[in-house]
Amino acid sequence: MTLEELCRQLQLEVRAAPRKLDAEVTGGYASDLLSCVMAKSQAGNVWVTLQSHPNVVAVASLAGLAGIIITEGMNPDAATIEKAEEEGIPILTTELTTFTVVGRLFELGVPGVDDIRT
């Protein structure tokens, strides 16, 4: 499943790096603690969080993530968007809560890192 398909299925708004949406999503991870994302997420994962400051982009870029879904209508600020464009990390936003987003991702067949065989 690509990010583009996820955007369509979950009706996510694309806020940054629209040309990186063809990335194949390898799985999903949800947390608001950046170090946990660093530790547990895997390359190509989509990350679900309600953090919206610029450092989420650094984390996603360093961990090689496919993209970030920011939940609960949190509005990423201009610096976050700018950095995401620079680093080529798609930022997708939704009014849905993290729980709902993760549930729908699961239904669409996006596995959690615990179920990904490496």
Binding site: R19, L34, S35, A39, N55, A58, L62
Partner: protein, 312 residues
């Protein structure tokens, strides 16, 4: 949702002047259709602007010629068969505008004029395709060359011990630029041709180190990376306040970060254990609890360097 590719971007970036054909073959209204046939054939073109006294007055195409041929009107002059007052494109416009005009008009070519209305070129859809492909090829080639050169550095530079040393100043509490040093480190290792696994491990270790300096030091510190063919060493030093109980600091989940920092998602107490997990050796020292130095090492194998392929 439409997917935006580099090609889409180029359509907005490139100007018509960059892709148009500059050497324009022109005819006058007095040119006969028979002469036009020879001109089109000799230049292998399918249409041409019609000029009179330096002014663009029309455009004539191979379709007009075929119609004239079928009607046996080869002695008629171009002035009678041409399309008058043709729509011209501006050399300074982006090619997205031209693509739109081609799609909507169905025309095969447009004359291109400068800001004073003077004819400077002609544009066909073929010109656009060629221009885009050429630009893409140049960009791809530049990227290839850059990666290739960097990834061969350890083979090309001969010494008893070759090492690339990266040095970054990290400012305390500067959350606006947090992660920038690590991003640069990651990019450097990418360009040097290390495998994605190695780059990821080094990037995580560098990021956690950088964040520790930003969150916990009094006056910031230095982040250094020493890249050698056999190992990558990440080092950090600061001037205080030091860590009173290193063993406790190493425990996952133990954190001394203040609440406002935790609210941003930092200070989860995972940083140091993340560094240890990602690296093969880690030493953390804080003598007398005044300053801290950290050293983390990632061992490299021959297979970790992808220089023979030279590309990620």
């Amino acid at each position: 949702m439409p997917q935006v590719t580099r090609l889409h971007e180029l359509v907005y970036e490139l100007k018509i002047a960059e892709v148009m054909t500059r050497e324009v073959v022109t005819v006058t209204p007095q040119t006969s259709m028979a002469e036009l046939r020879e001109i089109l054939r000799n230049h292998r073109i399918s249409g041409t602007p019609v000029m009179e006294n330096g002014e663009l007055v029309g455009i004539i195409s191979i379709e007009d010629l075929i119609k004239a041929l079928a009607a046996g009107e080869m002695d008629v002059v171009v002035g009678e068969k041409m399309t008058r007052d043709p729509v011209a494109l501006c050399a300074d416009d982006r090619i997205v505008l031209a693509v739109d005009r081609f799609t909507r008009s169905g025309f095969g070519r447009f004359p291109v004029v400068d800001e004073r209305g003077k004819l400077v070129g002609i544009l066909t859809q073929g010109d656009i395709t060629r221009g885009l492909l050429k630009k893409l090829e140049v960009e791809y080639h530049e990227e290839e060359v850059r990666r290739y050169r960097a990834s061969h550095i350890f083979e090309d530079v001969v010494s008893d011990r070759t090492s690339i040393f990266l040095h970054y100043e990290v400012v305390a509490r500067d959350f606006d630029h947090a992660g920038e040093a690590s991003s640069k480190i990651k990019r450097a290792l990418d360009h040097l041709g290390f495998s994605p696994q190695i780059v990821r491990r080094a990037a995580i270790a560098a990021y956690e180190t950088e964040m520790n300096i930003i969150i916990h030091t009094d006056e910031g510190g230095e982040l250094m990376v020493d890249v050698r063919p056999e190992q990558i060493v990440i080092r950090a030093t600061d001037t205080g306040p030091g860590i009173p109980d290193i063993e406790r600091a190493m425990q996952p989940g133990f954190s001394t970060a203040p609440e406002w920092i935790r609210e941003m998602g930092f200070g989860a107490g995972m940083g140091l254990s993340n560094i240890r997990r990602c690296t093969d050796e880690m030493r953390l020292e804080s003598p007398l609890g005044t300053r801290t130095s950290l050293e983390a090492v990632i061992y490299l194998d021959r297979k970790d360097l992808r220089s023979e392929r030279g590309r990620a």
